[in-house]
Amino acid sequence: MMDHETNDALRDAPTKEFINDIARQFPVEAEIDKCLIRKMARRAEGPFTRTRLGELEECFSKFLTETVTPDFELGNSRWLNGGASKLQAAMDLRWNDPDQGWNCETIVLRMEPKEALNINSRRREFELLRAFHGVIPVPKPYFLDEEGKWFPEPTLVYSFAHGVTKPVLATTGKVAGLGTDFGEELRGKLAPQFIDYLAKIHTFDHASAGFTSMDLPQVGTTENALWQLNRARRVWEEDTGENIPLMTVAANWLERNMPTLDSVSVVHGDYRSGNFMFEEESGTITAWLDWERGHMGDRHRDLAWTTQPSFGHYNDDNSIYYVCGIVPEDEFYARYAEVSGMTVDQKKIDYYRILNSYQLVVGTLATAYRVSRLGKTHQDVLLARLRALPPAFLRNLSQLLSERL
């Protein structure tokens, strides 16, 4: 039997055989497979050093000159924070936009570090933003450097979204969006938009969108659940620094109870407060962000994620639970079903709630450990500190499983 150090060393510098063994064991969508293989193949390359703002500006200038136009001006570069995954900077770009003519617009550069907390595809994020631009409020996607040809790492460029993610005087946890109390007035304004946009995502005509980065799971089978479960299990195997038998109990249960897909929807993957911007005065949602976990699959995955206890809060006498701090849970489901015309299957929500808890442990325990251990990001301290989150996710996972074993 391999000892703990050997195992850890193998994950720090994986052999081709190790990478391929895990990939064979846990097949996933082609695009995700490509991203995960790339991650593992580059793992031993060394740590990430944060790119300077000036370098990013130079990279972007070169990109624009070579692929768009040499006639532009860039300025006012600054870092953006928020999130635990990608490196983000804003810049003012004056250029001849094919859609709007000469104008000056603030754009966001969203670049991957060497190895992110969430491994996913910039091409997929770009395609989703392009598809939903004009359907629901999203940043306008402009450019994609899919392979990191001009930038140090794969980079997406889109328009800057104005607004806030929580009220200026909000009561909230330390992580944006978790447990935010929006107050009664804002709840009333945000709730219908919050539900309607989710329904629009799930009923979107994906067949005519021309997506090339997402595989279509087969309806009437468990293929979708298997891909999503395999993705989480594979990342656990690639990243973990320890064995936790409870995680294997969860994986066993998830494998035995995979639900059948009744209809394919675009799934946002991280639909919650903290991931949309809004104008505080009017309560109008200005942009839905963070499409990086999007995929084609089961709408119940989003429903289970959005209604997760840690994203919302109870009212003062604990009689009403507000989904994402915005809408009472029963109202959320009722309006969603009415607006989308789609059914809500509580059993499937329960399944995906367990998968979501499993995935949260994978990310905050296994991936955060490996990535911070190897210094792969611009925010390693934040990732190291995520170690405080898995106990609560494990408690949730354990409670959900105990009722079902």
């Binding site: 936790i244 038998p245 109990v249 611009h378 301290v381 405080a388």
Partner: protein, 176 residues
């Protein structure tokens, strides 16, 4: 001569907070965030330093107890023998005087044996599988509770349900 690690950590935190933090570029929110988190984490480390060996022993006991319960779960003979050998291996360690790193290595090895065994019961008869999975799920409760307490100083919900005082998990800490 006394060890001054605790004192020195306090000094480092103070210097970072009083001298370095105000000098960080206010237009670099990422740098500010990393510095604040670093200062916080050093405080967490100060609070936990005295308990590092206790925690290692807690994990060790947790996996040993889980393994002992699993021996009676109706495992396949080969799995039972492997588990039994591994338990015997853990007995060679004098946990009272072993270094935390030594205890962690033995615990990790035992956790791995249990974990692989749990993976294999997916194909075992339902009765065995259910018994094994229930033992693991039940035995994990106390460990999760300890984890909640351990990370409470830097958790999102430090006073959430189930968060007991850390010392309550380490009875040896009571004055002898």
């Amino acid at each position: 001569m006394a060890d001054y690690i605790d004192n020195n950590l306090q000094s480092i935190r103070k210097s970072l907070a009083d001298v370095v933090l105000p000098s960080v570029d206010p237009d670099d929110p990422l740098a500010l965030e990393q510095m604040n988190l670093t200062i916080d984490y050093l405080g967490f480390l100060q609070q936990r330093m005295d308990f590092i060996a206790d925690r290692a022993r807690f994990d060790f006991d947790h996996y040993r107890q889980m393994a002992e319960l699993l021996l009676d779960a109706g495992l396949a003979e080969a799995d039972r023998a492997t588990l039994s050998d591994e338990l015997a291996h853990t007995e060679k360690l004098n946990v009272a005087i072993a270094r935390p790193s030594e205890i962690r290595a033995i615990s990790a090895r035992l956790a791995r044996v249990i974990d692989e065994l749990v993976g294999r019961v997916q194909d075992a008869p339902e009765e065995t599988r259910t018994r094994v999975e229930r033992i693991v799920a039940d035995a994990s409760q106390a460990w999760i509770e300890m984890e909640l307490s351990w990370y409470a100083p830097i958790a999102v919900d430090p006073d959430g349900p189930g968060v007991r005082p850390l010392k309550s998990f380490f009875p040896d800490q009571v004055l002898r």
